[in-house]
Assembly symmetry: C2
Homo-oligomer: 576 residues x 2
Amino acid sequence: MYAGAVRLAHLEQTITLKGWVSRRRDLGGLIFIDLRDREGIMQLVVNPELVSKEVLATAESLRSEYVVEVTGRVSARTQANHKLATGEVELEVSALTILNTAKTTPFEIKDNLEASDDTRLRYRYLDLRRPEMLANLKLRHQVTKSIRHYLDDLDFIDVETPMLTKSTPEGARDYLVPSRVSQGHFYALPQSPQITKQLLMNAGFDRYYQIVKCFRDEDLRGDRQPEFTQVDLETAFLDETEIQELTEGLIAKVMKETKDITVSLPFPRISYDDAMNRYGSDKPDTRFEMELVDITAIAKRADFKVFTQASAIKAIVVKNLADRYSRKDIDKLTEFAKQFGAKGLAWVKFSDQVFAGPIAKFLPDIADDLTKALSLTENDLVLFVADDLDVANTTLGAIRSRIAKEQDLIAPDQYNFLWVVDWPMFEWSEEESRYMSAHHPFTLPTQDSAPELEGDLSKVRAVAYDIVLNGYELGGGSLRINQKELQERMFTALGFTKEAANEQFGFLLEAMNYGFPPHGGLALGLDRFVMLLAGKDNIREVIAFPKNNKATDPMTQAPSDVSDQQLDELNLKIGK
Amino acid sequence: MYAGAVRLAHLEQTITLKGWVSRRRDLGGLIFIDLRDREGIMQLVVNPELVSKEVLATAESLRSEYVVEVTGRVSARTQANHKLATGEVELEVSALTILNTAKTTPFEIKDNLEASDDTRLRYRYLDLRRPEMLANLKLRHQVTKSIRHYLDDLDFIDVETPMLTKSTPEGARDYLVPSRVSQGHFYALPQSPQITKQLLMNAGFDRYYQIVKCFRDEDLRGDRQPEFTQVDLETAFLDETEIQELTEGLIAKVMKETKDITVSLPFPRISYDDAMNRYGSDKPDTRFEMELVDITAIAKRADFKVFTQASAIKAIVVKNLADRYSRKDIDKLTEFAKQFGAKGLAWVKFSDQVFAGPIAKFLPDIADDLTKALSLTENDLVLFVADDLDVANTTLGAIRSRIAKEQDLIAPDQYNFLWVVDWPMFEWSEEESRYMSAHHPFTLPTQDSAPELEGDLSKVRAVAYDIVLNGYELGGGSLRINQKELQERMFTALGFTKEAANEQFGFLLEAMNYGFPPHGGLALGLDRFVMLLAGKDNIREVIAFPKNNKATDPMTQAPSDVSDQQLDELNLKIGK
């Protein structure tokens, strides 16, 4: 029996509970103890006139976080506490044993904690005692349970793929694992089981899934961790629509079972180009409007150099909030805009049918058209970026999200799922001065754009689809290449020599000789999904033992020194 | 619809199937194709008079392992094939498309394959197409599904623990993962989530489980792999009996749901000492008799130096099989015995109430007593080891198992579970000349033997229990230490200085300051369990992509070279 589960239905029963002392109060000659376990908090009452001297002495010695075993009779409280699920009852203690004592904890075990992140991680076992954290981790289990039931019922086979895999240079940075048996050689921890699951399709498994740890040695952000968990699935013989429907069913089940929310299906679909043009993001948050408007044609007519020299002029309208934005506020937005490559941020306020602001003087000729194109009404703030189209989109997309948060434009508990489809196959990497895979080199190009593999790579489109939730990329998938010749063309397009392709991916090309079926799949980021369901903005809140932003565990101090013997066995030396 | 799932119930239906050509036969003007998918094989018939020229041409071009999509009408076979689940029906093909072609595969896709292990691993995606392998992996999923349902129903919380952990010198060799951010420092891949799950108990999770990858960099054997999967569970507040009962329920559910076998509960319990004395093994196979008998008192009376000089004389009786053992056979057993440290193997045959064999001449004085003690009957072979007790037990234990296999004494499909309890806390390591933990340093010593932590370590007993199936250690568990002072004494007993204990395990000791509850748990080896359920003797048969015995993947060639840039980023150099 859990303390948190005691109810009026248990009245008059004698029960035994085990848990932690949340707090003790001595009041009116009685001792009240809040006993906490994973299901909640229950009030114990020790009445000196009804218990032995020993029990009384024990009760008097109790301090916060002592572990106790207690037996007593469930009775009704004279005054119910409606904040607690157990608030209508209390336990009249008859026996009480201390199972373990506790020093004063470095922070109080309660929600809305104000300890630093590193303190929380250093004492994670205490942080996890907080009801909020326990609830997050229970939610996580509920989510994986729903997912498993859904996929099991659809005859997916859960297959474990290896953690010790081959390092491939394409993609993010690998975590390496030196081999002792083959000295000088290294395994890599998987960034995803991508090729392995494709080989399972080749093996005829037909429907595979796995909830699996993946690894990327990248610099960390709020929703990144060195290790993260992926809901990974792959199917043979299904087309992209069937895979998307299957995924929608999965999401719908999770939403129903964990949040009791009925999502409406199918999810909206938006092309990558539309997403960029309308929201300035390939993972648009559609919980609020403020769409980007292309006003290039109109704005070009204004006698304003910034506009006439730019190839694209786009705008967003902050509806009825112009009065909330001082010049200083807008300066801040301008600084923010520059982070995305914009040279600046033009703006006007619209009030009494008139434009105000530094560039208002350039607009008289186009004022009417602009007002119409942007559907302006009283107290609107208009923000413009004039630049090339990419910069204009990306910058306004970021500003759009920032303003929505600043101005609290987003309703809580709203979950907007959508598919972003029609992806470009490649994206240009400034860093490497070459085209790289937007998803990965195994993605199937659309039939009509495939000839551009030997032509203009920017024109190749992928049969790929990302699923987006509230502005986060929840996951993505694609149909994959199953023809050797096409896969070889893809590697060539990516700049691989034949030798390099064979060295890295020869086994995959070889596998394509033997009846590789058409296949495709998807991966969802579990941490991110649970984070969003828990209403958090950092995946650390839904991971039991995460790393900090230096990829370190403040509790165990991992990573740490190892012995010379360990390095010797691996034939490794630290240093250049 | 799966090819392997078509039945008489589908008669006259027009269906579409997708799968692999298992074989094609041209017979009596018709073309017969065995179509294979993950559910089985179904016969297709192409009748040249009923299909278009194109379909016929396609059918004639089919070769083994081509991937096809086929549509047709289900009809009854004139002659049923009772070897196939689909054997009463066939598909009259009307449409046929080739989805992919295939070269000749390096081995035929069928059970009872004769390819070498490395060839099978190199082309694992083809090996996995074999019905047997697919069935093994499906069984594995069925097992994990049963386990999850069982534990979910008992309110266990599935929590993911980190893969990038701290290296600790106690235990097996760690796989290390160099850190790029903290150069010169290393993570370790977990050998088990032992401490982490204990901290979850400290956090109040109360019932935790996880099906999780673990890693040990040890030399490989048939039932070892660098990465293996553990069913890991931990509970707070339960005693060892409750944890064992819980585990028995789990096993019973798996056996029922995967093999339709009702196991009888509770499982037998045997103490470690009894297991060693009666079976010469701490994981006794009780599917056959042939127990070890201690005949020291009797044998000492014989005028035979080998006996009089030994501290222990033990025997096993091979019932009614003496005539199967030539002198040469017994010489082989003697060589085998020497591997376990025995100086030799004495033997006699019992026939017509008389002992025969080289040592028979020493036995007249004790013949009657021996016959009685060993319950000898016609045609028995008696094997003796005279040595110290450990060597005698271990040697005869190994011989016992070998003979049982050689002589086929073990009934198939028999599953003998048992608990081995009352474990010594420490075992002497010849290699390190010190006592080491028999399980791990967090195991709770029994209350009455704990004082020997400062005395004779060989006398300390652990509250530990192993679960054994058919001579394999299926898993093990224990109650854990939850008191800081006791944990410190344990580290001291193991030879840790205070500083070393704090450096390695300081975070655990620290955690014990804050109300660490009594707790304990268990871990089961999933690979081994599924292997035994599948009737295999190598865990590679139940792992999708295992490593070979050089810890290498013959398919991807992992582990492999990495680039200088990768090593530079880690500040590592190969070499001493």
